[in-house]
């Protein structure tokens, strides 16, 4: 079993008539994702790659059974699009769009939380259950069905590490990018919980990067729950220059967290195997779970 998506997931593409929306609709269809409808306000009645286009999510959801939505709508309109999907009760909603104002994301996240909708992103490559459903923009060929659950803050590093898992023969149950923005929907801990409950997932890979304290919080969770499956991690940014300071308030809120050293120390303290290089993650896992 994969988490959140699977071979029967019926997908809605919001912003399907845009260049990215259309390009990735084609690739997702080629992968075998069951895309049943698209939306693009003012373009209802059109058809993209054989997928019917509606003006509103409500019409699409009335004409088809929709289980998930993926949003390619440009940043100025993305909040409205995401709220439209959430308003129709669709879950999960995956927001691919980059550059959404933080305040808009806060609002989307709060509404999703209230409505108990799984929100992934924004600024995410999406989620993929290899051989079943690709709900995102990731290059398909680096993934293969297997036994590792992967959750990441970075898009391209996800592909890097997934490719290594695939080459090593371990394969993946589900790979998900939680999004690269300061505020995102579901986080590391949400996916650690989902992977813990998924029988086919035998081990978890967590890919972090500097900034914020999501990795430290995940480490605390792993420790506190005596997490039942082996976890390997990689944290990018050991040699990156420190990011810009956000006044005194930023320092007060983040305290000593945020650096690669702080994250690696917290994860190691929780029994997580932290790899020195992204290419080492698959090697570390092979020794933990065998093939």
């Amino acid at each position: 079993m994969a988490v959140l998506v699977g071979e029967n997931t019926k997908v809605l593409v919001q912003g399907i008539t845009g260049s990215q929306g259309e390009f990735h609709t084609k690739l997702m269809l080629e992968y075998g994702t069951k895309i049943v409808a698209g939306t693009s306000p003012g373009k209802g009645g059109a058809s993209i790659c054989g997928v019917p286009v509606y003006d509103t999510v409500a019409e699409a959801a009335e004409a088809h059974k929709v289980d998930a939505s993926i949003v390619f709508v440009p940043a100025p309109f993305a909040k409205d699009a995401a709220l439209e999907a959430i308003g129709s009760g669709i879950s999960p909603v995956v927001i691919i769009t980059e550059g959404i104002p933080i305040r808009d994301t806060m609002e989307i996240r709060a509404v999703a939380h209230e409505r108990k909708i799984h929100l992934i992103g924004p600024n995410t490559p999406g989620i993929i259950a290899p051989d079943e459903c690709k709900l995102g923009i990731m290059p398909a060929h680096v993934f293969s069905k297997g036994k590792v659950g992967l959750v990441s803050r970075s898009g391209t590093l996800t592909y890097e590490i997934a490719a290594a898992l695939t080459n090593s023969g371990l394969g993946e149950t589900t790979c998900v990018g939680i999004g690269g923005d300061p505020i995102v929907g579901l986080g590391f801990i949400d996916f650690l919980e989902l992977f813990a409950a998924d029988e086919e997932t035998k081990a978890v890979v967590l890919i972090g990067e500097i900034g914020g304290n999501a990795e430290e919080n995940a480490a605390e969770y792993i420790k506190a729950t005596a997490y039942p499956k082996p976890v390997a991690a990689y944290v990018a940014g050991r040699t990156a220059p420190p990011g810009r300071r956000m006044g005194h308030a930023g320092a007060i809120i983040s305290g000593r967290t945020g650096t690669a050293a702080s994250k690696i120390e917290a994860l190691r303290g929780a029994g997580v195997h932290v790899a020195e290089k992204p290419t080492d993650v698959a090697r570390v896992l092979s020794s933990l779970v065998g093939k």
């Binding site: 933080i102 305040r103 509404v111 680096v142 970075s154 391209t156 914020g212 040699t239």
Partner: protein, 380 residues
């Protein structure tokens, strides 16, 4: 986008948040004239965007017009943490009963704005927060409802205020929060917020940092966006114009990649194999197109220390064929006089490889091999 103190304070005035009376000046003569108009002891405050200007000597108290002239002349010749002082805010010195701190910022882990307030403001607020966290009151704000007036009063009570002071502080906090919402701020902060002898509150310092992603809905800053030289170097500004994110470092290997995580991992790996990056350019935002790759080349190679270049592309939303076209056309146009190591896999990989092969450009599949190779090539 960071605003200068004087810009932030003119926003404060629009929201009738009291700030000290003052004038922005660009020459010692103007500083002297401003002092004379204020007619009392004044602060000369260097207008720079870097933090810690007070500890660096960028804020001075002057009591005579001669001092205003000579000390401002000194300040205009200064660089504060590398940033030259182009303007000075000459501001009346306000007698204060005590210094408070009020800030509103994005709380990443909770996903909301958090109001922070303390009666122990001033330059040591961070130490206060880490050593006695109970002295900084925190309040997480519901993203949909916003800050309610009663919540601002709760913050005031938790700071131990009562009577008119409590009401005044709550109103001040509400105004600061409203500024934050109106301008899509990542941070609004007054430190110190002075409590005057008369019992009111005055924002002696005021900082505003606007979320770059929201600038499209703030037309009033369209002109200002073009003048961000306090925040970025010239070359960083040029990169931003092209939609690239560029950062200068102190090694000798140029790095072009797509996606922040991959670029950071590339730097880490170069370091692991004993090399050091000269700079890095993330061409990934919204997909690395041929034009972006060309621009990235130009920018990274403009750093004269670059002895070798590593292009590490793992394409998702980016397409390898676009990247390959960018590499080929750059090679034709500007030539390549430094060794270049290319690693490229992902979306439209086959087509991308065909384009590179036809142009006689070699490439690698593994990032690890690429990093080792570029470190070796940088040593000649």
């Amino acid at each position: 986008m960071k605003l200068y103190e004087h810009e932030a304070k003119s926003i404060a005035q629009k929201f009738s948040l009291p700030v000290p009376k003052g004038f922005v000046v660009s020459t010692p003569q103007e500083a002297k004239d401003a002092f004379d108009r204020l007619g009392k002891p004044s602060m000369l405050k260097s207008q720079v965007l870097v933090a810690g200007r007070k500890k660096a000597g960028g804020i001075r108290l002057v009591s005579t017009s001669e001092e205003a002239y000579s000390i401002s002349k000194e300040l205009f010749g200064m660089k504060i943490h590398g940033e030259p002082v182009g303007k000075i805010l000459v501001e009346e010195a306000v007698a204060a009963m005590r210094e408070l701190y009020v800030g509103v910022t994005v709380n990443r882990s909770v996903g909301c704005y958090t109001v922070l307030a303390s009666t122990e403001g001033g330059i040591d607020i961070e130490e206060v927060a880490s050593e006695s966290p109970e002295r900084v009151v925190r309040l997480d704000v519901d993203p949909i409802a916003g800050l309610r007036d009663y919540e601002a009063r709760i913050v005031g009570r938790r700071l131990g205020l009562s009577g008119k002071q409590l009401i005044d502080l709550a109103v001040t906090i509400s105004k600061i929060f409203r500024i934050g919402m109106t301008y899509d701020c990542e941070l609004v902060e007054s430190n110190p917020l002075l409590e005057t002898k008369e019992g009111g509150f005055i924002a002696a310092d005021f900082r505003v940092l606007i979320d770059d992603n929201s600038l499209w809905r703030h037309q009033e800053f369209q002109e200002r966006i073009r003048r961000r030289d306090g925040e970025f170097t010239q070359i960083e500004l040029r990169a931003r114009e092209k939609g690239l994110s560029y950062v200068e470092l102190d090694g000798d290997i140029g790095v072009i990649g797509n996606g922040a995580g991959l670029v950071m991992a590339t730097l880490d790996m170069i370091n692991y194999y004993g090399g050091r990056a000269a700079n890095f350019c993330d061409a990934g935002a919204g997909g690395a197109t041929a034009e972006r790759i060309e621009a990235a080349f130009e920018i990274v190679l403009s750093n004269r220390r670059t002895k070798a270049l590593f292009i590490n592309i793992l394409a998702g939303i980016t397409r390898c064929d676009d990247v390959a076209r960018g590499i080929v056309s750059t090679k034709k146009r500007i030539g390549m006089d430094v060794p270049i190591v290319i690693r490229m896999v992902g979306t439209n990989e086959e087509e991308g490889r065909r384009i590179l092969e036809e142009a006689g450009i070699s490439f690698l599949e593994s990032m690890e091999k690429g990093a080792r190779e570029v470190v070796a090539r940088s040593r000649g």
